[in-house]
């Protein structure tokens, strides 16, 4: 690993992994915040700690399987297609109807369960993207997991704020996923006979094509589905609006 640290491509992978963790980790952070919200004060930190621990253990297992699977023929092609889809989906506006009904738990075990189950589902995109960006380098994979921890624990507000102030990060992130997908595609063992003998810059070409594909198709689809000027979402404050300040402290 230390030898590879001399190369620019290593640092490029490091940057890619950090970007992926920020971009795809915000969701997990939000779920943790929501799941632990109703816990009594003294249990909240415990809930967050165990939830994060469970989520990370799960992520290690998932990424281990992902690395094994990606070595099999054609599965990098599948992984690349999945990444293209994740990238395009990232650019789509919200569906109002996609709602779960898991209640925020008032007891510790329930909250931890919510966090871990949610993370199992929400980590898939992160895991595939990190495995793709790490190109099989285990050191980088571990790095990716370590970097994602603080983002999951403290990052929810930061990630939301970043996306609010700087919506371009979402487009850049989608492009990054397309880029990784393009490189992953030509890295598949099954395609090796065809790749052999082609110039070494081929994977840059496919990466660029992947990035362009995701951004163009993603923005086109988003524009088609964008509802014109949704009304402002204002919450009904009900009683709280009439309460004098002293009562909600």
């Amino acid at each position: 690993m230390f030898e590879s640290m001399m190369h620019a491509s290593f640092w490029l992978s490091v940057l890619q992994i950090i970007a992926i963790d920020i971009l795809l980790g915000g969701d997990n952070a939000v779920v943790i915040a929501l799941a632990c919200r109703k816990l009594p004060e003294h249990q909240r930190n415990k809930g967050i700690a165990w939830g994060v621990l469970g989520a990370i253990a799960l992520r290690v297992v998932l990424i281990f399987f992902a690395l094994q699977l990606l070595a099999l023929p054609f599965l990098k092609v599948v992984g690349a297609l999945l990444l293209l889809w994740i990238g395009i989906k990232l650019l789509q506006p919200e569906h109002e109807d996609e709602h779960g009904n898991i209640e925020g738990s008032t007891h510790l075990l329930g909250a931890i369960k919510t966090i871990v189950v949610a993370d199992a589902v929400m980590s898939l995109d992160n895991v595939i993207a990190v495995a793709g960006a790490a190109k099989g380098d285990l050191g980088l994979v571990v790095f990716g997991i370590v970097v994602s921890i603080p983002i999951i624990v403290w990052g929810s507000k930061f990630v939301l704020k970043l996306m609010d102030r700087f919506p371009l990060v979402i487009t850049l992130g989608a492009a990054l996923l397309g880029w990784i997908a393009g490189g992953m595609f030509v890295g598949d063992v099954a395609l090796r006979p065809w790749i052999e003998g082609t110039p070494s810059w081929l994977h840059y070409l496919t990466s660029v094509i992947g990035a362009a594909f995701v951004v163009l198709l993603g923005t086109w689809l988003a524009r088609r589905r964008e509802p014109e000027m949704a009304p402002i979402v204002e919450l009904d404050l009900g009683e709280a609006a009439r309460q004098p300040m002293g009562d909600n402290r």
Binding site: G26, D27, N28, V30, V31, A33, L34, A35, R37, E94, E98, H99, G100, N101, I102, E103, G104, T114, V117, A118, V121, M122, K157, L160, K161, L162, M163, D164, R165, F166, P167, I232, V233, E234, L235, L237, A240, A241, P244, M245, N248, R249
Partner: protein, 146 residues
């Protein structure tokens, strides 16, 4: 009656906007004061695990926390006001809220933020003042008289 919108994020900026409003009120006692906290929308996968009521509760709680200090300042000064919580892109929501509900002015504190953060995040206040058709009064840290 002059309708005044004060977007509040729970920071010292908001406190400055309140101080400015109290000053404005001495000249124009006939002010209708509205506080607004805008919460970041929660999207992506997170929503498929949490019900709408949960998300709303969360926004309400965070919004009230952000509003608390501004409300206390106004309560202490004995000034009537109403307060609101909306969800959406922050600058966008403030601008549209003011325009759609016929406000006469937006008063907000602007960050005296250091260079790098400002470069990265830009400032909500400057985006609002750039895009709003409703007049905007920005209260910078320099004018701090509170």
């Amino acid at each position: 009656m002059h309708k005044l919108l004060i977007p509040v994020d729970g920071s010292a900026n908001a406190d400055r906007a309140i101080a400015e409003t109290l000053r404005l009120r001495q000249a124009t006692p006939d002010l209708e004061i509205h506080l607004l906290s805008v919460q970041f929308p929660i999207d992506g996968h997170a929503r498929s695990f949490v019900s709408q009521e949960e998300v709303d509760d969360y926004h309400r709680e965070e919004g009230l926390a952000a509003l608390a200090n501004a409300r206390r300042l106004l309560d202490t000064a004995g000034v009537p006001y109403s307060h609101h919580i909306a969800v959406g892109h922050v600058a966008d929501t403030i601008v549209r809220y003011a325009e759609e509900r016929g406000f006469d002015r937006i008063v907000m504190g602007s960050h005296g933020r250091s260079g790098l953060m400002n470069l990265l995040m830009g400032s909500v206040a400057s985006e609002v003042s750039r895009r709003s058709r409703v007049p905007v009064t920005l209260v910078g840290p320099v004018q701090d008289v509170a």
